[in-house]
Amino acid sequence: MKYLNNIFLWVVFVLVLSSCTTVKEYQKSRINDSDMELSSRKSEKFEQAFYLYREGASGANGGKSGGGCGCN
């Protein structure tokens, strides 16, 4: 059942992607705002490090997914 939920979420994600409209460069004032960046903030750098040490799951967040830090 859990796997079905995940598959459902990804199907929704793909449908959302396919329903998008073309946004021109001059229409991207909000998209280009620094808070809209699709990555972690620089100020989160050390928070990412302690997640890596203190939790078993890692990766897919733009940071390290193990290695180079004495953690696995």
Binding site: V23, S43, F46, A57, C69
Partner: protein
């Protein structure tokens, strides 16, 4: 505070002087497009993290987990346009952490303070990327080095990003390899008679073991409309070598104890989704979800939401909440519960079943004339967060970021 402002002001003047010198050296004619090395930005991040709990892996899943970590990072970015109009970006990042760990002191409980009572972690990295606007591609290469008392690592990474013609879709492919070496420091009572302790003057003949990590990632970022963009990322990873920590103790149900033993390989599959939505004129919603599964039997769901609210165009408040729900690795069991016949065993609570939450707030200032009227002092961000794990461990994190541009 006055001294800090003065120091940053002086530093900015120095950077401006440097910029002027570079232009003079390479020429500043208006007939040519300048191809000098251009300073982009400096980011200085300082963080302080403190935690305490009662499930240390060094003492077999019981005992203090008290730890403090003071971390500092300095990264500087330069760029240059080459004769083919490609933008080369160079980034140098230097990081240094100093931590103290009460549990590490228990590797050798008879010798206060032992090899790992406190340590310094140094990890610089360099990155180079080439952005070609005509081909809509960005290629990147990087190298990272990391060293601690008992650990050394060389990391390599490369990436390729491709932007669609309408610039609304970005495909990214990355690969990385970390080649690490671990010094096998054993708990004092479990060392063979002639095995060194690992202390500064007692390392001759100590064992070193490799730990290699390889990962690849593929992501798609898509602008959905003028207010919404999303990104999906999949990042499979493979680790091999000594994945257990040699000074973690494990206590069996029959009263005997030994060091942690884990398989020599691990395959992980994290899949992530990021969403950024601009609501109204002042509110942004940043969301992140990750599903994680590995072949050690762990499955995890992680979600993060941050809602930056722009009180003014130059000042934002950013409350955030993160939750991680993970199942236990199949090799985990608590103190004194492992059966001696098991092939692999650990009492490291980082691999146990728990729910962790991290909640806090950030403040961001970016006034148009610079902070404290220092023009190049572009922005400042302060974050505080409280971390809580359902097995009782708690932590506090404070970070300060300064951007000079």
């Amino acid at each position: 505070m006055k001294k800090i402002v003065l120091a940053i002001g002086l530093y900015c003047s120095f950077l401006n002087a440097g910029k002027a010198q570079l232009s003079t050296y390479y020429g500043d004619s208006t007939n040519f497009k300048k191809r000098t090395l251009k300073f982009e930005e400096i980011n200085i991040v300082s963080g302080y993290y403190v935690q305490d709990g009662n499930n240390s892996a060094i003492t077999g899943g019981i005992g203090t987990e008290q730890l403090t970590d003071f971390a500092n990072s300095f990264d500087i970015t330069f760029s240059k346009i080459d004769r083919y109009n490609r933008t080369h970006t160079f980034n140098v990042d230097f990081n240094i952490d100093r931590y103290t760990s009460a549990s590490s002191d228990n590797i050798d409980p008879l010798t206060k303070s032992s090899a790992s009572r406190s340590d310094v972690h140094i990890y610089p990295s360099i990155n180079w990327s080439v952005k070609d606007d005509a081909a809509r591609t960005t290629k990147s290469l990087g190298y990272a080095f990391s060293t601690e008392y008992d650990y050394r690592s060389h990391g390599f990474n490369g990436g390729l990003t491709f932007l669609s013609k309408d610039k609304n879709t970005e495909y990214s492919l990355k690969g990385s390899a970390y080649l690490d070496t671990y010094m096998c420091i054993l708990p004092s009572e479990l060392r063979p008679a002639d095995y060194p302790s690992g202390a500064h003057r007692d390392q001759a003949g100590i064992a070193y073991k490799p730990r290699n990590t390889f990962s690849g990632s593929f992501s798609i970022a898509q602008v959905i409309n003028q207010r919404l963009q999303v990104m999906g990322i999949i990042e499979p990873g493979y680790q091999e070598g000594m994945l257990s920590t040699p000074f973690h103790r494990v206590y069996f149900s029959n009263g005997n104890h030994t060091t942690e033993k884990l398989p020599s390989t691990k395959i992980k599959l994290p899949i992530g989704l990021r969403v950024s939505y601009f609501g109204g004129d002042k509110l942004v919603i940043r969301g992140f979800y990750r599903f994680y599964v590995d072949d050690w039997g762990m499955m995890a769901h992680t979600a993060n939401i941050e809602i930056p609210y722009k009180i003014s165009p130059f000042f934002s408040v950013m409350p955030f909440y993160r939750v991680n729900n993970q199942s236990a690795a199949k090799y985990f069991n608590k103190y004194g519960a492992h059966d001696p016949s098991e092939q692999y065993y650990t009492s490291d609570y980082d691999l146990s079943k728990f729910i962790s939450e991290f909640v806090g707030v950030g403040l961001r200032m970016a006034p148009p004339g610079g902070i404290a009227h220092v023009v190049n002092w572009n922005s400042m961000e302060l974050r505080y967060g409280y971390y809580h794990r359902s097995n009782g461990m708690v932590g506090h994190s404070v970070s300060l970021q300064i951007k000079i541009k």
